[in-house]
Amino acid sequence: MSSITEYRSGGMGWRWAGRIFLVFLLGFTIMPMAWMLITSLKTGFAAMQYPPQWWPTEPTLDNYWRLLDPSGSVGQDFLRYFWNSMWVSVVTTVLAVAVAVPAAYAFSRFRFPGRTFLFFAVLLRNMFPAVVFLVPLFILMRVLGLVNTHGSLILTYLTFGLPLAIWLLKGFYDNIPIQLEQAARIDGATRFQAFFLIVMPLSTPGIIATSIYSFIGAWNEYIYAYTFLTRHDQMTLPVGIQRFFSENATDWPGLMAATFLMSIPVVVLFLVLQRYFVRALTEGAVKH
């Protein structure tokens, strides 16, 4: 009996230690975001106080109004950057999924010469740092007349988003029993119908997870957007918010408000799709 009590009390100790550790981790994750939000509610002067104002003495939403007011120059630019980012990210995601779904299915189900080589070859692009391709891709885009267009970004994002999407989705297809498709074929379905009606619905969590990865990758990407776009009317948010940095000063509250607004679509995406995302992450944990 006593040993059970000791065991339990020992377990309680670990449990509490675990909880404290989780709280610490939570604080570690939340603090930067909380500080971002708090700073966005300050005036420029208050943001530069030292020691810092943990909560602004004179909180203001002016920084948000400035960004969201379409009649002001800051608002016009910010909303344009926001729209540009959304457009590029959504198109990239749709195209990535549209290409990755059949490609991953082919790698999963078909046996053809060079399959293994090709499967690893698609990852080749992701084995080099992005900066290596910067100037060659810029010159290529220039030749194609795509500099200062969103097409340059979408094409580029696809080159490193697609391999990841194909790899992720192949894992899902591998875990869907082939017998389900065979049963459908016996019942008279074509291969496409078996894929579309049986495999696709079962791989929805995987497709959603892939979409989220693609979207976030495109939404946050900086270096290519920074290089390929110089026109303000084409800029995406990560590049556009550089305007809060000047030669001699930084508009921290404006920058934090812009960053907070920039994080909203990703947060909303996660909140709406999180159950699929979690399923997707755990799907491969059990071998069928």
Binding site: F45, Y50, M141, Q242, F245
Partner: protein, 502 residues
């Protein structure tokens, strides 16, 4: 009476210092200008009083003047990249920028403009990439030494003031030097500025120092910094030593030059940029002073190793840092922040502004005063590298003529700099600036002490990488002062020999 005069009660020691300094300036100006003397202003008389006396003495009709260079009815197209005002810049900068484009449209209604304002930190990289892809703009305005790299690589067209209707004598000789590569001019100065020492008078008073007198020498600055730290427990001097950051050499080189040092021989009357001075006694003394403050006295921010001036602004405003080296725009920025502060913050912000003082940069042991000659230049890109493959030279000249005119070289640099065209000092707008902007005459009067960084393509690497690395090596005690300067000298020598570089 200018705003500065109104504050004369608090600025008498500074005024005396300025007076003494004026005498030295005459000599310095004559040395700097060599055989070329400006026609627009008399550099030999340069002093705060002279600057004030000539302001408002001449009027200009910019559209008409530039119309004589490029007819106002000329039809064409020009593309232009520059660093315009962004969110953190004072409101006045935004207004003047908008006013310029409005005025250009009126002066040249048939010239189409394709203008991109790119942030200071992004412009050079973007321009480099665009040149590689033949997608550069026809005209670009770069920081003072930015153009040398591109001139050396053959990207820029020769361009001198005479090409747009001005005389070379209308610009600071040092500024023209910064756009001259192998004897050929590749640009026209748009604005020039020098920094000054800014201090918080209240902190000085609290530490028992004369609140109205800045440290006269760099050695004094080390003592002031220690006194402030020891008495008040706050940082005395805002040392900046971040690696790969332009802010570092802009603040450390004046100290190095004042002690008689240099990276190369840029501080010599006729620099050849072949001799390495980074390991001479002056350079060692300057580095030792920095080490004394950081390591021995601990009187500068611990974060100096990763600080730029932007990181110093917060503590300075909060009264946790007594002295910084900063641009003339610092006061305008503080005023701007104070005007937007509300409630209790407003009171504090107004107090910060009231306690701000500007002074001349400290001198070295021999009385030598130096400061980085800063600013920007405007350049014309060769047709081979621009989008469309053709530069519209007339449209380019029209834009450059307007941008570098006396009128617009004042207005476009209202809060942050000084007119590149010396005629700008004669305009009514300069008079207005002097009346509006407190301490402007002090920073302006430092111009003759300005020393340009070495005008060689390798200068950014030397200044932004080797100098900060040397500081870091000494401040972190990875190397002794002697070792750090020798290490830097070896790297600088390798670069100018063509056998080094990153």
């Amino acid at each position: 009476m200018t705003d500065f005069d109104r504050h004369a009660g608090v600025g008498r020691p500074v005024a005396r210092q300025v007076f003494r300094f004026t005498v030295a300036v005459g000599l310095a100006a004559s040395l700097m200008s060599g055989t070329v003397f400006a026609q627009s202003v008399d550099l030999s008389q340069w002093s705060p009083e002279y600057v004030k006396s000539i302001a408002g003495s001449t009027t200009y009709d910019t559209a008409k003047d530039c119309g004589a260079v490029v007819p106002n009815d000329y039809a064409g197209r020009v593309s232009y990249w520059y660093t315009g005002p962004f969110e953190a810049d004072p409101e006045i900068s935004h207004r003047q920028d908008a006013a310029f484009w409005e005025a250009f449209k009126v002066a040249y209604p048939n010239i189409q403009t394709d203008v991109q304002s790119i942030t200071y930190n992004e412009l050079l990289d973007k321009f480099r990439t665009a040149l590689l892809g033949n997608a550069a703009p026809m005209v670009v305005r770069l920081q003072i030494l930015g153009g040398v790299e591109f001139a050396a690589k053959g990207y820029l067209n020769p361009l001198k003031p005479e090409d747009v209707g001005y005389s070379s004598a209308d610009f600071w000789p040092g500024a023209l030097k910064s756009v001259t590569y192998e004897g050929v001019g590749y640009g026209i100065p748009t604005n020039n500025e020098t920094m000054a020492l800014i201090w918080n008078a209240k902190i000085f008073a609290d530490a028992g120092l004369d609140p109205e007198s800045p440290p006269a020498t760099w050695d004094d600055l080390v003592i002031y910094s220690k006194t402030i730290h020891d008495k008040l427990g706050i940082a005395g001097y805002g040392l900046v030593a971040k690696q790969n950051a332009g802010n570092t050499p802009f603040r450390f080189m004046p100290q190095l030059w004042a002690y008689g040092g240099g990276a190369l021989d840029e501080a010599a009357p006729t620099p050849g940029y072949k001799e390495v001075w980074i390991n001479n006694e002056g350079s060692k003394a300057a580095l030792q002073a920095a080490v004394d403050m950081y390591v021995r006295d601990k009187s500068v921010p611990v974060s100096a190793l990763t600080n730029t001036q932007a990181e110093n602004q917060g503590p300075f405003i909060a009264g946790e840092l007594a002295m910084v080296i900063a641009h003339p725009s610092e006061y305008a920025r503080m005023n701007d922040l104070a005007s937007k502060a509300t409630g209790a913050d407003k009171e504090k912000a107004d107090a910060v502004v009231a306690n701000m003082r500007y002074g001349l940069m400290p001198t070295g042991p021999d009385g030598k005063r130096a400061v980085v000659f800063g600013g920007s230049n405007i350049h014309m890109v060769k047709s081979d590298f621009v989008e469309g493959g053709q530069v519209d030279e007339q449209a380019v000249k029209a834009l450059i003529c307007m941008w570098t005119s006396p009128e617009w070289s004042v207005k476009l640099n209202w809060a942050s700099s000084n007119p590149g065209h010396l005629g700008g000092f004669r305009t009514e707008w300069m008079k207005e600036r002097l009346e509006q902007t407190r301490f402007l005459d002090i920073t302006t009067s430092m111009l003759p002490n300005g020393i340009p960084f070495p005008v060689i393509p390798e200068a950014p690497e030397i200044m932004n990488i080797i100098i900060p690395d040397m500081l870091q090596n000494a401040l972190t005690e990875t190397m002794t002062v002697d070792q750090a300067v020798e290490d830097a000298a070896m790297k600088v020598q390798a670069i100018i020999d063509g056998s080094g570089g990153i």
